[in-house]
């Protein structure tokens, strides 16, 4: 729902890092987005294309690595990876005592600049 403000943060961090590295154009940006992060990749890409106009990222493409939700069950001790966005109980033993390991990521991994 707030993909536009996330897109602005991505732009700000990318421009900042590009300048710091001594370059003036961003060609591509790679993001890591967890499936349970609440961010829809398509909406984020749409928003990014809108905010990048007239910046050093105006020619930049964005690729998104989607990270599935995974966790470790405190009852049966098994690690699990699921296609679901939200986990209500351990898929192995149905216990509710588990810790989520991945799926909430919202990160910039790297980018190509020139």
């Amino acid at each position: 729902m707030h993909e536009a403000s996330i897109a602005l943060s991505v732009l700000e961090i990318a421009v900042d890092n590009c300048r710091k590295a001594g370059y003036n154009r961003i060609e591509s940006i790679r993001l890591k987005i967890g499936r349970a992060s609440g961010i829809m990749p398509d909406a984020l890409l749409f928003a990014f294309n809108a905010v990048k106009a007239d910046t050093i990222a105006e020619g930049a493409s964005v690729t998104i690595d989607e990270i599935p939700v995974s966790g470790l069950c405190g009852s049966c001790g098994k690690e699990f990876v699921t296609e679901e966005k939200y986990v209500l109980c351990c898929p192995e033993c149905s216990s509710a005592s588990f810790n989520i390991k991945t799926g909430r990521e919202l990160e910039i991994i790297d980018m190509e600049v020139f």
């Binding site: 961090i13 990160e107 790297d110 980018m111």
Partner: protein, 215 residues
């Protein structure tokens, strides 16, 4: 050339949230981020709670709304410090919006600061503002399917207030289902059944809050 970035996209927000946290700790203020969908009763709960705590705990309020100052006027009439933030369209409060108004609040003379977030069951749960605790309201008229439809807020909150409980006889809502689903999402969740209209359950919630603030 490839540049490694490896930065959390919300890093700027987290940094400002940590700064807010420091200011709150310095002033000895306990901060609650109060969230719910629109119309669940956030302002009504604050009115009831502030009256209940009056004379025991010094409260202040930050009101977040997309537009208007109606909520701040309601709270202001109780005689507690209140600041209205208009997000101008944004669906949530973030750490920076809070940071900008902190100097207008008498933090040192405040024990408990309520931040009433924008009415929205989704986005506010994503942004830390430097609070001690997130609390949420679900009014029972919203339906008993909400925990499983909007899980993040239920997972992030320490307390869930089931408001408008006086209307239960007129609905087909199952409080048992809400409790079961919410607890499966967040086994540590503390649930209060309240009615801001009749005052039911408010004293119990206020007692629990008082213990949190004084501990």
């Amino acid at each position: 050339m490839k540049v490694k970035v490896v930065t959390r996209i919300l890093e700027a927000n987290d940094r400002i949230a940590a700064e807010n946290r420091r200011l709150f700790d310095e002033a000895g203020v306990y901060v609650i981020n109060l969230m719910s969908g629109p119309g669940a009763g956030k302002t009504s709960l604050l009115e009831r709670t502030i009256k209940e705590l009056s004379g025991k705990i010094k409260t202040a309020v930050i009101e977040g709304d997309i537009a208007g100052a109606a909520d701040a006027e309601r709270i202001g009439s109780l005689g507690v410090p209140v600041i209205q933030i208009n997000t101008g369209g944004a669906c949530h409060l973030d750490a920076n919006m809070i940071n900008e108004v902190l100097e207008s609040l008498p933090l040192k003379e405040t024990d408990l600061l309520f931040v009433e977030n924008v009415g929205n069951l989704v986005c506010p749960a994503e942004f830390n503002i430097g609070e001690d605790m997130k609390a949420m309201i679900l009014s029972i008229t919203e339906g008993d399917d909400k925990p499983l439809k909007y899980p993040l807020m239920f997972q992030e909150s320490s307390a869930l207030l089931l408001n408008k409980i006086d209307l239960l006889p007129y609905t087909n809502v199952s409080v048992k289902k809400i409790r079961k689903d919410a607890m499966s999402l967040n086994p540590a969740l503390r649930i209060f059944e309240v009615s801001c209209k009749t005052g039911k359950g408010i004293a119990e919630w206020a007692d629990w809050l008082t213990k949190k603030v004084k501990s």
